[in-house]
């Protein structure tokens, strides 16, 4: 499942490519009053050639974390504290001009819905050419050759014809491949995929995940996949980070998370995956209740109101991060002995 013997030698240096430390992002609420604590104290590392899956429900802060790395947060959002170190340099507080030199060149991004990710009034070729011209200075024949090679790399037949077409002339699965080709066009070291398969049909989903794994392995880039689908992480990831209400509740290697999840939220999420052997008459397993309103300050564990194992302490004190064997950690009072 985790192809660590990739054809591209992963960097031997132990320094992580991406090191996020205590990241906190606040978003001004729509009504102008109140602040939504979208991301609180998130820390993680990512090495070259490795894949991290960020999993959680809608609004848990997983996409905001991804956008913070790109420094493409909406105007109402602000990084309150923490550092995002990319290849040893903190990018928090970098100017937009400095960030533009990273975006598309060293950090690529794949969007959720390919049907709306491309500009409808320019050809696919135009949009693929933009980063190549901007970051690599390609033009003429060299540009065309690179465009064709990229479309071939993402498995698009007759690339010369496709380059001249507009987005509305292609299917969703094909468009997501184009988006992928654009994201990797300048050989980025980090690729962030925000719900890359959510908008695709199941066949296209499987194909696109295979493509992502292939891209990662042949190019040796670090990959972050933001998803609500554990199935996606199982196929691709080395590590999984489960987020709830803006915080990391559990983080660890993918096998550990699947086989021995420790946090009740992770367990509940895994239980909610429909399995063929389950008794259908019981219906689907769900997690009772709603995620908390992040504009309100939460004392204690934010999952406590929905947790089957909640103790009095859970609602009054925030659980500390407990380190478990095998690079596994969780924030739950059950683990504090």
């Amino acid at each position: 499942m985790n192809d660590m013997s990739s054809s591209f030698p992963a960097s031997e240096t132990s320094a992580p490519l991406l090191d996020v430390d205590d990241l906190t992002v606040d978003i001004a609420a729509r009504d102008g009053k109140g602040i939504v604590h979208a991301v609180s104290g998130v820390s993680f590392e990512l090495k070259r050639g490795c894949t991290l899956g960020i999993v959680g429900e809608s609004g848990c802060g997983k996409s905001t974390t991804a956008m913070a790395i790109m420094q493409l947060l909406p105007g109402s959002a602000q990084i309150k504290s923490g550092t995002i170190s990319f290849d040893g340099n903190d990018i928090v507080g970098k100017s937009q001009t400095e960030m533009r030199a990273l975006r598309g060149k060293r950090i690529g991004m794949i969007m959720q819905d390919p049907m709306v990710a491309l500009d409808p009034v320019f050809t696919v070729g135009d949009q693929l050419a933009e980063p190549l011209k901007l970051h690599m200075g390609l033009k003429g024949q060299a540009l065309l050759e690179r465009q064709v090679a990229l479309l071939e790399a993402v498995g698009i037949p007759s690339p010369e014809t496709r380059l001249k077409q507009y987005p509305h002339q292609m299917s969703g699965g094909m468009l997501q491949r184009i988006v992928g080709a654009i994201a990797i066009s300048c050989n980025p070291e980090l690729l962030i995929a925000d719900e890359p398969t959510t908008a695709l049909d199941p066949t296209a989903q499987a194909q696109f995940l295979d493509l992502l794994a292939d891209i990662r392995d042949t190019r040796g880039l670090a990959l972050i996949i933001v998803t609500h689908d554990f199935g996606v992480t199982a196929r691709l990831c080395d590590d999984i980070m489960v987020m709830y209400a803006g915080r990391i509740v559990e983080r660890g290697p993918v096998e550990t998370i699947f086989k021995a999840p420790r946090h009740p939220y992770t367990r509940a999420l895994l239980d909610a995956i429909p399995k063929p052997e389950n008794d259908r008459s019981k219906g689907l397993a769900t997690i009772e209740g709603q995620p908390p309103n992040l504009a309100e300050s939460i004392s204690g564990c934010s999952f406590a109101p929905r947790c089957r194992f909640a103790m009095p302490r859970c609602t009054s004190e925030r659980p500390p991060v407990t380190k478990l064997p095998g690079d596994h950690q969780t924030a739950c009072w059950l683990e504090v002995v």
Partner: protein
């Protein structure tokens, strides 16, 4: 494409026939030209004679059929007052109207689009608020009032610009500004709202993730995507600016079609009004057709079968 064009031409002809009927009937309801032509001491018989000479003694529909038959052959009759071919008189005035109308249109488009894009880009800034406030003022000011105020300030008090007539570039300034200001405002507001919608879309986020500069995103991608509604309104505006010249031409004594038509209306010079309205309608219809064809160029999703 060709079929589409043909269908549009047929529809345009129907529109033109409709317009000509309405104009024809409406001006005949407005009064009797014979009364202003006939001398003070004309007898009943004299009046009847003039009326018969002009063909006004026949039923309206018969008059229209005669008019239409001649109009198809390019003959819009002769001016009752000047005895010259009506179409020639209108056509002679057309360059002056196009001159001021097109200038106002170009001004409105360039400034309006620039301000619309800029206010959308810097949404919520002080400049955004003040430009929008100014736009509402410009749109609310009626043309005849604005024209007179501008004359009062720049011609009467400051003596900077001529108040009326046509000739030098200086003569153009006040009519063009008067005519174009409201169009600047509406183009700006429409561009702004259309741009705001586009700038919030996913593909703009993806463009940013490619590292493109904000100038590139705004002017190359977002503007073109926001341009369809702007283009539609620009088409209507161009027509309005040509036809709307009627007021401005009167205020500034500008020798265009509008002024000719106002004078003809006062004298009940039917053929001039019919020819003028017909020519302006043809311009309006052609502009609309042109705009429809431009849609396909701006947005590849709109290509006509």
């Amino acid at each position: 494409m060709f079929n589409y064009f043909l269908r549009r031409l047929v529809r345009a002809s129907i529109t033109l026939i409709g317009i000509s009927i309405i104009i024809f009937v409406a001006i005949r309801m407005s009064g009797d030209p014979v009364m202003s032509l006939a001398p003070e001491d004309a007898t009943e018989a004299d009046i009847a004679e003039i009326r018969a000479e002009l063909g006004l003694d026949k039923p309206v529909w018969v008059q229209y059929v005669i008019y239409a038959k001649n109009a198809v052959q390019g003959d819009f009759g002769r001016s009752i007052r000047y005895q010259q071919p009506a179409l020639d008189m209108v056509a002679a005035r057309l360059p002056a109207t196009i001159h001021v109308g097109l200038s106002a249109f170009i001004l409105a488009t360039l400034i309006g689009v620039f301000l619309g894009v800029t206010t959308a880009r810097y949404r919520g800034s002080g400049a955004d608020y003040s430009i929008r406030m100014g736009a509402i003022l410009c749109q609310s000011a009626p043309g005849f009032w604005l024209g007179m105020i501008l004359i009062l300030i720049f011609s009467v008090n400051l003596h900077w610009l001529p108040a009326s007539g046509r000739g030098s570039a200086a003569h153009m300034v006040l009519p063009v500004v008067t005519l174009g200001l409201a169009a600047v405002a509406s183009t700006m507001r429409l561009t702004r709202s259309s741009m705001l919608e586009t700038l919030g879309s996913e593909y703009v986020r993806f463009l940013r993730s490619k590292g493109l500069s904000e100038d590139m995103i705004v002017w190359k991608h977002a503007l073109r995507n926001s341009f369809i509604p702007v283009l539609a309104v620009m088409g209507l505006q161009l027509g309005n600016l040509m036809a709307g010249a009627i007021i401005v031409e009167t205020v500034f004594n500008w020798p265009g079609v509008g002024k000719l038509m106002v004078e003809a209306l006062q004298a009940r010079d039917f053929p001039i009004i019919q020819a003028g309205a017909f020519l302006l309608s043809i311009m309006m219809v052609s502009i609309n057709l042109l705009v429809d064809l431009l849609f396909g160029i701006v947005d590849p999703r709109i290509r006509y079968e």
